[in-house]
Assembly symmetry: C2
Homo-oligomer: 217 residues x 2
DNA sequence: CAGTGTGAATATCTTCACAGCA
DNA sequence: TGCTGTGAAGATATTCACACTG
């Protein structure tokens, strides 16, 4: 039975795969060697068939009657996601959030190496944060190419997000993760993801409001 | 025609409503008074009927043949989401990310007032950040009640996320936004949202990998 | 007559249920 | 026997298409 490697893979599947990796790493730390889709599902908060179906897009990794080898499954998923290599990234916008990312070890640990930090504020340019010198945003296109950056992280204020994006596009960037609270315009061949943490607060606020309204009935 | 106020509202609708608010605010800044679902859709990157359907869950806000009043629509959505009031929040975990949030003005601007900062590291306890004194995490339950916190923001390392959550649950918290790279266990009546920015990097990496693979065929 | 509001049609995602293998 | 892998069924979400209205 040929697996589905060449079907279109749902966006939701990708974000769940990231969760599986996370939980498999946790199990690895606890010394768990083998796990069933049932157990993994519980710890990820999803349905077991969902896991099996998600994995089926990439191949067959399980042992019938047994389950999955934790380490091997984790590696297989990472490979499927293109995480069996490192990626050079640039951070544009060195405010509170940008600084936090520059100092946060987790990006590097995951294979995302921050090779450039950019800002347009003359007071920040030249400053050293997390071992990197802040460079003027107008130098983004040339530096991006020079440093071989593939992914840009936008942490500017909303008003400057599109300008930052334009610089990155000029440099031929392939992907963007946007933390700025603004939609951005990019050609369709550029992969864009939004990290809207305010929206998650909105969502929690809404759900609390709603459940309280229900409680009154 | 009765609107759908009492139907179950899709999670996706809520997160789009947050986008609509964001874009409507941008239009307001630019002095735009009236907008059609068509125009709003373009700036939000969604389908126009999607917008009309999302809004229909909460009421009728448009003028046929005209469109929507930018200011009024924005206010109506915010009210529907429960954002016509302020919410007290606590930040648990004062690392790079926690500090960034404590200093980041955007939370307050959106009506989320950080009233407490907690950490279990004795070196951090007592430190003042963004006008708040860092308090020992073990005091979370009592302080949370005292400060009338409704939403907890977890910015601890993965290993300590569940413990932080347990403290918050003990205090009767209603909602949690979890930035830690770990799934957490909560009773069903607590609203939980995950902010997994690493997952968004994974997703971008995957999509770049995939489009390059396609390019080779 | 432009543009909303909405039922119907379509597309997508999730879960079930079970055949088949270790 | 126990658990995977997967077609079929079911549930949800999105888009279409158009009646209707200011």
């Amino acid at each position: 039975m040929p697996h589905r490697k060449y079907e279109r893979i749902p966006r939701a599947t990708i974000s769940r795969l990231a969760i599986y990796v996370q939980e498999l790493e946790g199990m690895e730390r606890q010394g768990v060697k083998v796990v069933s889709s049932e157990k993994l599902a519980v710890s990820c908060g999803v349905n077991p068939s969902q896991i099996r179906k998600d994995l089926a897009y990439f191949g067959e990794f399980g042992l019938r009657g047994v389950g999955y080898h934790v380490f091997e499954l984790k590696e297989a998923i990472k490979q499927s996601l293109g995480l069996d290599r490192t990626w050079n990234v640039a951070v544009v916008g060195v405010g509170n959030l940008g600084r936090a990312l520059l100092r946060h070890g987790v990006l590097r640990k995951r294979g995302f190496i921050i090779v450039g930090a950019f800002d347009c504020d003359p007071f920040k340019i030249g400053e050293e944060i997390g071992g990197l010198e802040v460079i003027c945003s107008s130098k983004l296109p040339e530096k991006t190419r020079e440093l071989n950056v593939e992914i840009g992280i936008i942490t500017t204020p909303a008003e400057r997000a599109q300008r930052a994006v334009n610089y990155l596009l000029e440099a031929g960037i392939k992907g963007i993760v946007n933390f700025a609270p603004a939609r951005i315009k990019t050609p369709p061949n550029v992969a864009v993801e939004y990290v809207d943490f305010i929206h998650h607060l909105f969502s929690v606020a809404f759900r609390i409001t709603q459940s309280q309204a229900k409680g009154l009935i």
